[in-house]
Symmetry: C2
Subunit: 231 residues, 2 copies
DNA sequence: CAGAAATTTGACCAGTTGGAAAAAACGTTA
DNA sequence: TAACGTTTTTTCCAACTGGTCAAATTTCTG
């Protein structure tokens, strides 16, 4: 049960495809509607994640989706609704790994696989990560309330689990909030700063293997740190 | 001697203030020119770091700078030049801490103070961080070459230092590139994702103290990891 | 202070932007 | 196949965009 479902769902509104005709009873979506909406959202993810909300234009999205602007507007009557749809969908997917952290699991295993999953997300859904990053850079005007309620709630919940692990001496006593931040930061970095990562690694090391390297490095960092065990 | 000075300096061009009149010999800048350019760059940093290059408008910048658009264009004849100026200045400041890493210093001290400095940068110059992040999200079209040459060069240099430390058994043998990435990621996170950090920490813990907390947590993470020393 | 140079303003422009409206084309089903 | 609902296209618009230009104003310098 996704905790982050949220009030942004109010994005629906409009007439075109979503709320078919006039005041009649809403009809089930046609095949075309489902397909085209999918194509549009896919194209919009591309554009919004690169340019941000203001920087993206409906024309760009329409072109990427292979249709005319008015045609696109038939499915999503305003730019903002496409964006909102993407944001809710993204948040839902994006936080799944955090939700999966299990208080009953072995702390080391749980942390390890959380890091793994987050790196895999950066590898497999980099645009979603960038979409979110873009929103954050702008000060999160369209998701701030969600962050303060749903996200904070979810994090608080997981923080308690970690405090339990600390009490049990399974992990070192430290700040659980910053712990979570550091996992987010290090893993999402590989999506958000992908260009930089590849530029610095160079042609030879910048291949797909970089995600595996990153995962291995991060596991060690988080578990053991950089200092040798015996000195 | 800043390694990152770069070809972007070609940003200069134009007529207005920068290259005073016609083909005459370039004259020294007046007081007003220096002042206004400063005001403009300050305002532009605000806008660009929030909206990205495309999302920002000259009007917004002009208003933030308290002047009319044509007046602003008198000092910087095109939008792109303001942006380039900001980018070079930012890169220079932003990479200073990395340059300072000293191969002769004590590894632990050096790493510690690198992390410290980076966190302080995020606290004191968050907009510069966001400006850079924005550029990265867009795929770095205006700095890619700089990253591939100057930045990579600088990083390679520091990577060697770290390999030296590993050879000497001072720090654990690990991937030095990802090591640097993880320091960048964790520290810059506090500037780039500031909204999120504050939303999750909540009113009580989201005050200025968060940077000190972050620094303390990160020092421990990087040196010792999350696992207890003896189990 | 006069004159020149530097700065600021207002009017303007062509291209882009988000979006509306209506008509045309298409698909489905009674 | 006729009628209806769905989808697409064409045309259009007002606001905004980056930028120009000449005239007006202010500041500096001798």
């Amino acid at each position: 049960m996704p905790l982050i479902k949220v009030k942004m769902l109010e994005a629906e509104g409009g007439q075109g495809a979503v709320k078919p005709t006039g005041r009649k009873r809403a009809r089930a979506q046609t095949r075309i509607q489902r397909e085209k909406q999918e194509v549009i959202l896919e194209a919009a993810l591309d554009v919004f994640s690169r340019e941000g909300f203001r920087g993206a234009t409906i024309d760009q999205i329409a072109e990427a989706a292979g249709m005319s602007k008015p045609n696109l507007l038939y499915y999503f009557p305003r730019k903002e609704e496409i964006y909102k749809r993407l944001m809710t969908a993204m948040l839902d997917v994006w936080l799944a790994p955090l939700r999966e952290i299990d208080s009953d699991g072995d702390p080391v295993t749980e942390l390890r696989s959380y890091i793994r999953r987050k790196i895999e997300m950066s590898r497999d859904y980099p645009r979603q990560s960038r979409l979110f990053a873009n929103e954050m850079l702008q000060g999160g005007p369209r998701v701030l309330d969600v962050l303060e309620t749903d996200l904070k709630g979810l994090v608080d919940e997981k923080v308690q689990i970690m405090e339990g692990w600390m009490d049990a001496g399974k992990i070192v006593r430290t700040d659980p909030y910053h712990m979570i931040f550091s996992i987010w930061a290090t893993t999402q970095h590989y999506a958000d700063f992908d260009v930089q990562v590849r530029a610095v690694l160079g042609k030879d090391r910048g291949g797909e293997g970089r995600f595996e390297d990153a995962a291995r490095y991060l596991e060690n960092l988080f578990l053991h740190g950089l200092l040798p065990k015996e000195r």
